[in-house]
């Protein structure tokens, strides 16, 4: 058992195997994002490392407020003023963190795409659908003629099931599901190599949700697009993602092959999250006691220890290492590495301490 800092050539089960050999489209290393707040800096993303390969979908799951959306926006350089980014995001030989605002702007669209959660308000109400496409295509591809723009836009829309007759319509003339498909067409018309989809179906009904997930699945099959799918719907991850990264309080606590992680969750937070999922076979509702920590003052040691049913003494003292488990998943927890802790450290955390931490 090794810590997973160096190179690893561990073979993985499932569909991820062949993809491991291709170079990642985008590789984040120790990515950190802070927001300035009145209570001090808030580390919304705190040292996150992941790779996404061509045609691969990485699911990013976790509770609200754990930094998923910040991570997605941070990668594209779309953070509000007052946010700071550090670390490395390797994309096409460049570190996106070091690029100027202008360089990032030129990459967004043709290289990096973002699909939003709320489609109803994401289209400019005064612009026709056609004007949105013309603007995007002209910005990144100045020498296209009007006819070429029209052809490409209509192709992209047709791929999303929007008929050409609606090209000159205004956004308010479409339903939510149609608007989300227009947003996707708009993000994909420039064929970005890497797309972040930030809860793309949360605001939509289940039938439309299935449709959108199908579209995203077709996308990576047809264009080899690398996709980060942010969601808190574990069902979507199981269905649509190759790999999954579970985030808690700015950290990725477990990541690996989606089927492996779901079949055999190793991190106590992943286990708790899975238990809390409601399905047809659910007989009782489970929840994780307490709430995610205040990121301006995160707890010492493992950030999950105040809510962790398996917390040990060491968890409250020292941050756990990231380890590569035999099943190919990476896990940030003291439980699988007993030989790295002392016998005293392995003693269960006192119950009082849990409740005190809970109060805080």
């Amino acid at each position: 058992m090794t810590t997973a800092n160096g190179t690893d050539s561990t073979t993985r089960t499932g569909s991820g195997t062949s993809r491991d050999t291709t170079a990642p489209v985008l590789a984040a290393r120790d990515l950190r994002v802070w927001y300035g707040s009145e209570r001090g800096p808030v580390a919304a993303v705190d040292g996150v490392t992941f790779d996404v390969r061509p045609g691969e979908t990485l699911g990013l799951v976790g509770e609200s407020g754990c930094g998923k959306s910040t991570l997605g926006r941070g990668v594209l350089g779309l953070l509000p003023p007052g946010a700071a980014v550090d670390g490395e995001v390797r994309f096409a030989g460049k570190n996106l963190v070091d690029l100027s605002a202008r360089q990032l702007q030129q990459l967004r669209g043709p290289e990096l795409g973002l699909i939003f959660q709320e489609p109803m308000t994401r289209l400019n109400p005064l612009m026709r659908v056609s004007e949105h496409f013309e603007e995007a295509l002209r910005t990144h591809n100045g020498d296209l003629t009007k006819d070429e723009i029209r052809t490409r836009a209509l192709d992209a829309l047709r791929g999303m099931g929007i008929p050409a007759s609606r090209y000159e319509s205004f956004p308010h003339e479409f339903s939510g599901g149609m608007r989300q498909r227009i947003m996707i067409a708009l993000a994909l018309v420039l064929r970005p190599a890497f797309v972040v989809a930030d809860e793309p179906t949360t605001a939509l009904d289940v039938l439309v949700e299935a449709q959108i997930i199908q579209i995203l699945a077709d996308l990576r099959r047809n264009f080899d697009t690398a996709l980060v799918l942010i969601t808190h719907n574990l069902g979507i991850v199981a269905e649509a993602c190759d790999r999954v990264a579970v985030m808690y309080a700015g950290h990725i606590v477990e990541q690996g092959d989606a089927r492996e992680v779901f079949a055999n969750p190793q991190h106590p937070y992943t286990q708790a999250l899975m238990r809390s999922t409601i399905s047809l076979s659910t007989t009782g509702l489970h929840y994780i006691p307490g709430s995610p920590p205040d990121l301006a003052h995160p707890p010492a040691g493992c950030r999950f220890h105040p809510r962790c049913p398996k917390a040990m003494k060491v968890c409250a003292q020292e941050a756990p290492p990231e380890v590569l488990l035999p099943n190919g998943t990476r896990n940030t927890c003291w439980l699988p590495v007993p030989d790295m802790t002392t016998a005293d450290g392995r003693r269960p955390l006192e119950v009082e301490e849990i409740s005190v931490a809970d109060e805080a």
Partner: protein
């Protein structure tokens, strides 16, 4: 497309229908307010000369003031429907003739004031919103509050003192130099348009030159509203979802601000213009008085001073109708620009 124009037609029809009860309420208010105003119009219009009670009664009967209020009210409504605004007791002129004769100057002044307010307010508001919390933004907000709060006659007198008396850049008062425009035929009754009509550019420039100070004075009254409105709209728009989405598509920041920010931030300005028309006409009464501008406002004050309530009622009725009609037109223009309004 045919469906779309159909719903626009329906919108206009509905908006016009809504204006009718609004006009009715306005007319009623004007009528009631002028009945409860102090002073007897008949004895006041005699200019203080002592009249016998029989003479007063005779004049009251001639003016119809001796009839029951409800009958007077019915007559008033019937007259307004026929665009008959009554006859002045003090000058014996038809109020509609007064409107025709003096209205053009007020239209010129109000338009000038509105143009000044828009030319100053929109760029200042956009810049203040774009560079929020900068020194310019703080200055612009302060400027907007002060100009809104400052009384028209104070601003007007200061402007006259500085730019007319002291610096001599602009004329002190009036719409033109004396006598210069006497031979311009009244085609539209708007002097500047009539002068353009007969190609008398000397008069056109003379009117514009006279217009600048009063238009700026009147414009400053409403410019603060535009500055604050545009600024807040732009700040909200730039924080909006579709602006973030445009950035996510890699649209140039300049285009994001101009195409997605400015355009959307300016839509409500058209509505605000409609709301400001009342303030603009009210302000023009004071501005006309200050700058001796020969418009309806100055005339209204003269009628008020001579207690000519019939003429006052006629003029106020007319101004109220203008406000209703303009706000209706503004709503329709809004519907043409912003497709969402129609639904």
């Amino acid at each position: 497309m045919s469906m779309k124009s159909g719903s626009l037609g329906r919108y206009i029809a509905m908006r016009v229908a809504l204006a009718i009860p609004m006009i009715f309420v306005l007319l009623t208010l004007v009528f009631v307010m002028l009945r409860v105003a102090p002073g007897d119009p008949i004895s006041a219009s005699s200019g203080g000369a002592k009249m016998s009670q029989e003479k007063i009664d005779e004049l009251r009967a001639a003016a119809g003031y001796d009839r029951p209020l409800i009958v007077q009210y019915g007559d008033y409504l019937a007259d307004v429907v026929r665009f008959d605004f009554g006859t002045s007791v003090s000058t014996n002129q038809q109020v509609s003739d007064v409107i025709l004769e003096k209205g053009g100057a007020t239209v010129t002044l109000a338009t000038g004031g509105l143009v000044f307010a828009l030319l100053l307010g929109i760029p200042v508001g956009l810049l203040a919103g774009r560079f929020r919390d900068s020194a310019f933004d703080v200055f612009a907000r302060l400027f907007g509050i002060i100009t809104y709060a400052a009384p028209v006659f104070v601003v007007g007198l200061l402007a006259q003192q500085l730019f007319a008396t002291k610096l001599g850049w602009f004329p002190l008062e009036g719409e033109t130099d004396p006598l210069i425009a006497n031979d311009i035929p009244a085609t539209t009754h708007i002097l500047i348009l009539d002068a353009i009509w007969v190609n008398d550019w000397e008069v056109v420039w003379n009117v514009l030159w006279h217009l600048i100070l009063p238009a700026a004075t009147l414009g400053l009254l409403i410019v603060g509203v535009f500055i604050r409105m545009v600024r807040v709209n732009l700040i909200q728009t730039l924080r909006g979802d579709y602006v973030e989405a445009a950035r996510a598509r890699g649209i140039r920041e300049r285009d994001v601000v101009v195409k997605h920010g400015f355009r959307n931030a300016l839509v409500p300005v058209i509505t605000v213009i409609g709301l400001q028309v009342a303030l603009l006409l009210g302000g023009s009464v004071l501005t006309e008085k200050t700058f001796n501008w020969p418009g309806l406002g100055k005339q209204l004050i003269e009628f008020l001073n001579s207690r000519d309530y019939v003429a006052v009622q006629g003029l106020v009725t007319f101004i109220a109708l203008v406000v209703v009609v303009i706000s209706m037109l503004i709503d329709i223009i809004n519907a043409l620009i912003d497709p969402r309004v129609r639904y």
